[in-house]
Symmetry: none
Subunit: 299 residues, 2 copies
């Protein structure tokens, strides 16, 4: 990170909501489900499949968690109606993990049950280290009953290789990403190169166990390493997909699709764009600089 | 390395002994065997095993080598008496390798014989390239007669993969480290990433030959690579240990122990702390800056 980037990250909490909002417009499909549907249709035409994420997390109120459940049921209905090539991703704290694990699990179950009838997959997003054990417990509960669910492993977590070891034999689909939350050294490997290394180690382990992997990265180096592993291990195209966030590295996305690799785009929508956009900003601080410049100069 | 660090390294020979002494206090248990025992007991309580190193090297006088032999016999007596979880590490030039190889071998034999009766392991430390052949000859001599000895391989040496190839089948325990001496390009791989790569290559080769490895590193990246290899190759916890120097990366040491990995700390003690501390300084030059600042400002 450059000195300027460090400065931007340190002052991120001071960034005016107007600027974060402008940034959000790059990473978020819009505030409504219709906005999301339009974006997904466009991406489907481009050859990418999608996963929808309703923005919102750290919910402290059961009624708000129920609103999220109802909205996800509307999303499933839209996927069915519009025949979208799309599944859904849900954050545990959006369904009430911070309130009560049983409440959260029951909320997931309401959505997963309907998705199961539709033959639609549900990703349990992974949040910070304090949520990992509960999320994996909820995953296993749903997996045993429905099967159309999958967890996420974060390459920066020191526990990830062990967590992969403990997966059920008939696990459906796993997503592997680097991880974006701020974690202490006790929990997470430190250093850009080290996290890349562990991503490759975890990916190789997942592929060797013949687990379908969503390779979630925008890192050119890791894309190259993944293509290399897929080639060396003879992994067929129905055993993996690349995954990328809406608005990040559109060029690499098009390149991978053109190369014949299955690729899924994570499409967030909704009014609660603030925390998500702040994480995107932290990862990519120069975006804030560009937006600030644009706002100041009108260009 | 920053420009400041480069400057510090270039001027290291000019660093006053007072400052090096202050630095030594961070990396050395103290001047006496009692100091070492206290440090080892503390580390044992923390869950780390230890290896003791009596400071001193490049001995040019047989009487001084004999003093080192006698002191190591006192160390073995203390390990036995205090029931320490601890073995010993000895530098060939401390036992007279610069004087005569036979003298050095006989001196080792005096110590190894007693250690053998105690069921205690003796590590033959590795020094610069001029000592490698003689050290490996002495190692093989002792290995055939006693067995409780093991050599060190330095990942930066171009010969290391070949040296591993030529190990006896029933080798006891090997230590693998990067290497810290200043070597010409003819002898040593150059470049930080290159040495890391050869460390991983050598580690994989040792583990594949089912040799017990002391993985001596403070590099987060190599710790991650080692954990990955151990996981992928299914190496059980009685087939390796991590090794770290006293006073270096205490946080990573605690993290690895908490992760259930066996870990041994190299505990140096004695009056001859100058050369050892200069090597530590060269590896970690900002320590000299911190110490200088502390001496100047009294903080």
């Amino acid at each position: 990170m450059s000195l300027f980037d460090r400065l931007v990250v340190a002052t991120l909490p001071l960034v005016p909501k107007l600027i974060v909002g402008k940034v959000a417009s790059r990473y978020v499909a819009g505030e409504t489900l219709d906005d999301a549907i339009r974006t997904i249709q466009e991406l489907n035409r481009e050859g990418a499949s999608c996963t929808v994420d309703l923005l919102g997390e750290e919910v402290k109120d059961a009624a708000k968690a129920q609103v999220a459940v109802d909205e996800y049921l509307r999303v499933l209905e839209a996927i069915r109606r519009e025949k979208l090539d799309c599944n859904i991703s849900i954050k545990p704290t959006q369904l009430g993990l911070d309130i009560d694990e049983d409440l959260c699990r029951d909320n997931y179950e309401k959505v997963v049950k309907v998705a199961h009838a539709d033959d639609c997959f549900v990703r349990l997003d992974m949040e910070d280290r304090t949520t990992v054990d509960a999320t994996l417990r909820i995953y296993r509960h749903l997996h045993e009953r429905y099967g159309n669910v999958g967890p996420v492993f974060q390459a920066y977590m020191r526990r990830t290789l062990q967590d992969i070891e403990e997966l059920p034999d008939d696990v459906a689909r796993v997503r592997l990403c680097k991880g974006i939350y701020i974690e202490p050294r006790e929990a997470a490997w430190k250093g850009f190169d080290t996290v890349r290394l562990n991503f490759i180690q975890a990916l190789e382990k997942l592929l060797a166990k013949d687990i379908y992997v969503g390779i979630a990265t925008h890192d050119e180096y890791l894309a190259c390493a993944a293509v290399g592993l897929i080639d060396r291990m003879g992994i067929s195209r129905d055993r993996y997909e690349f995954q990328m966030l809406l608005g990040v590295e559109n060029q690499l996305r098009r390149i991978l699709i053109a190369g014949g690799h299955p690729l899924r785009v994570y499409v967030p929508y909704g009014a609660d764009w603030y925390l998500y956009s702040m994480r995107r900003l932290r990862e990519n601080p120069q975006v804030a600089g560009n937006v600030t410049r644009a706002l100041l100069t009108g260009k």
